[in-house]
């Protein structure tokens, strides 16, 4: 089991062929066979974050680099070290207290919409059910992430282990497309990538400026505002106000502009993102939803950092999907040329001052 510290670097567990080598007489030694693809993240609850399922999916997609769509979608995900609920068990007589479900690194709605093939996440109690049977269970195909094993395998302590399937293993840029399309079709009724040009909306009603109209008419930009939070980073109030003004001007050109704050509903947020060619926000885990943005040749993800500091979490993820990545720091645009290709140059050796 994991110790909550890292992911397995190079594990690609594929037991599909194993079943064909088991002699029928041996079948008595396992209790049952669970068909399909099973993801297992053995990390404890604090280590589960917005990168967990993405990393498992990325790892799985490396089994077929040339045609990831030919892989069957995962059928279940186990979190054997994560209890189903995070709150203390309430008094059985008190039925009015809603239970707090475990964090699986994404909104439960997103799991249902983007991973419809998953029967649902299964937790420690479910895993204990299998243990209680007292006999082994044969899983057809398993993809496992285990940070403890990764550490024992030599992964440096300071390396964010979820990055390894992104940086050390090859996969198609389309590796996330099945999930993105599922969510888009679920909330929009169709995949925006195949839905034609669409129409502009949310503009001020003024005619588009000629120079911008051609570019603007069919595109959507979403700004995920974080100004209402009590902690974490946000824009300076004056800069936020200036950005809203500039985005309003952009909307006048015919571009659809959505500004969503922390209080937007899941549906509002995901509908906007699924249509968006450009997504902009300050850095943070809330950007996990942006992986569902519309795909085009110039889909662009913009992330704002404090002066002198940055991280490469979302750059690592979105660039693996073929999305352009732009970082802003202070008042400066950080040149894309300073970000080396993930598979070639590794990570930056300095922060931008």
């Amino acid at each position: 089991m994991g110790d909550g510290a890292s992911f397995i670097p190079f594990v690609k567990a594929d037991f599909g062929s194993l079943t064909s080598t088991i002699h029928p007489s041996h079948t008595l030694f396992y209790n049952g066979r669970i068909h399909g693809v099973t993801f297992i993240s053995s990390d404890s609850a604090p280590a589960i974050d917005s990168h967990t399922l993405l990393s498992l999916m990325r790892l799985y997609s490396t089994l077929n680099v040339s045609s990831p769509h030919s892989l069957s979608l995962p059928h279940r995900v186990f979190f054997p070290s994560v209890p189903t609920f995070t709150d203390p068990r309430p008094d059985p007589a008190e039925e009015s207290i809603p239970r707090q479900r475990a964090n699986i690194g994404m909104a439960p709605e997103t799991l249902k919409a983007a991973y419809p093939s998953l029967a649902g996440a299964q937790f420690a109690e479910d895993f204990a059910d299998f243990t209680g049977i007292g006999l082994p269970v044969l899983l057809d195909r398993v993809v496992i992430a285990d940070r403890g094993a990764a550490r024992r395998g030599g992964l440096p302590r300071d390396t964010p282990a979820w990055t390894v399937p992104f940086t050390r293993l090859r996969a198609s840029e389309d590796w996330f497309e099945p999930m993105r399309k599922s969510l888009s079709e679920c909330i929009l009724g169709e995949d925006e990538n195949s839905a034609g040009t669409g129409t502009s909306a949310d503009s001020t009603g003024n005619a588009p400026a000629p120079a911008a109209a051609a570019a603007a008419a069919t595109h959507t930009v979403t700004y995920l505002s974080r100004q209402g939070g009590e902690e974490g980073s946000r824009l300076r109030a004056a800069d936020h106000a200036a950005l809203l003004g500039a985005l309003e001007n952009l909307a006048r050109t015919g571009v659809r502009v959505y500004v969503l704050d922390e209080y937007a509903t899941w549906m509002e947020r995901m509908r906007a993102l699924a249509q968006s060619t450009v997504v902009l926000s300050v850095f943070g885990d809330h950007l996990a939803d942006a992986v569902f943005m519309k795909r085009s040749a110039r889909s662009t993800f913009m992330e704002v950092f404090p002066s002198g500091e940055f991280n490469r979490n979302w750059e690592t993820v979105v660039r693996s999907m073929g999305i352009r990545y732009v970082a802003w720091q202070g008042k400066r645009y950080v040149s894309k040329s300073l970000f080396p290709a993930l598979m070639n140059g590794g990570f930056l050796t300095h922060s931008y001052g």
Partner: protein
């Protein structure tokens, strides 16, 4: 919390608190957005 990476092949990570309000040149951002959108049309 910001993770600052340094290293050659894989990052080393140091963490520091960064709860400051961030500066941003709003007009430069929107200009860059337009640049990206125009590029998409050109393709």
């Amino acid at each position: 919390m910001v993770r600052k990476y340094a290293g050659n092949d894989m990052p080393e990570v140091s963490e520091s608190s960064s709860f400051d309000d961030l500066e941003l040149d709003a007009q430069a951002v929107v200009d860059a957005i337009m640049e990206e959108l125009n590029r998409a049309v050109a393709d």
